[in-house]
Amino acid sequence: MNCTEFLANLADYFDAKTAATLRSELAQHMDGCNHCHVTVNTTRQIIEIYRNNELYELPDSIRTQLHQAVLTKCAELKDNKKKTKA
């Protein structure tokens, strides 16, 4: 297995979706290839860091405004449908 083949299977490797034989081939490649070993470790770190840090917070005050605006439109739509039926 070369590095390109290793990288092509990286997504499945992280999802633990690879078959046992392929997983063993990937592990074997990683043992002998510092580049791919580092790539796996740092990729794992990237995912963890992005998951653990909320970059875009939606403040509660804005949430409440958004909910009210949507619910008002939904209620109007519901009323209009009722009127059309009547």
């Binding site: 990237i46 995912i47 970059l55 949430r63 949507v70 939904c74 519901k78």
Partner: protein, 223 residues
Amino acid sequence: MTSSKIERAALEPMATLTSEEKEANALHPDLLLVEKVKAGDLSAFEQLMRQYDRQIFRIALHITQNREDAEDIVQDTFFKAFQKVNQFQGNSKFYTWLVRIAVNESLMRLRKRRSQKTVSMDDEIQTEEGSIPRDFADWMPNPEQNYNRAELADILRKTIQGLPPGFRTVFALRDIDGLSTEETAQALGLSVPAVKSRLLRARLQLRERLSRYFRVATGEHAQ
């Protein structure tokens, strides 16, 4: 896929779930709420909004990179979901269906901002060249600890914003939001191999860009 294709596909039933996934989906608590919404229950709809508004906002912001647009997209996405709820047939998770609407709304918003230029998930996606990482430096064990919360958030935001929209959206859905590869493909109207390819390239590009902050220090970390 272009935004118009996604728009058409967003509301179409999806029959790509396995029988096990369909069974799990049938038991999903969202479905009970959705049935109530179909019967006109606004409080059930509010519950769904409370459950998913933050994620929808985050996805919209990842795509548009504009806070005001993202707030509008949250409104438009949920209102459209309410309008079209009868078209939701439970062939996918309700959240995946919602994300498809949000992605479509976000792409339309981007297109408007870019003076009617067509915007799609394929924008700025380059060839396979450059997939192999050039930077092989290892990182510190807990590199984020070298920065305070605000500094770190700034680095992470700037870095992900530098990716093409098609890459950062796949990364946001798959790695930040935790959707499966198949759900990400459904939500974006992409094939599973396309999602895997974009995810790989997004991760590798992020890795290269973040290395200057997180790599093992040889003296002091780069700024």
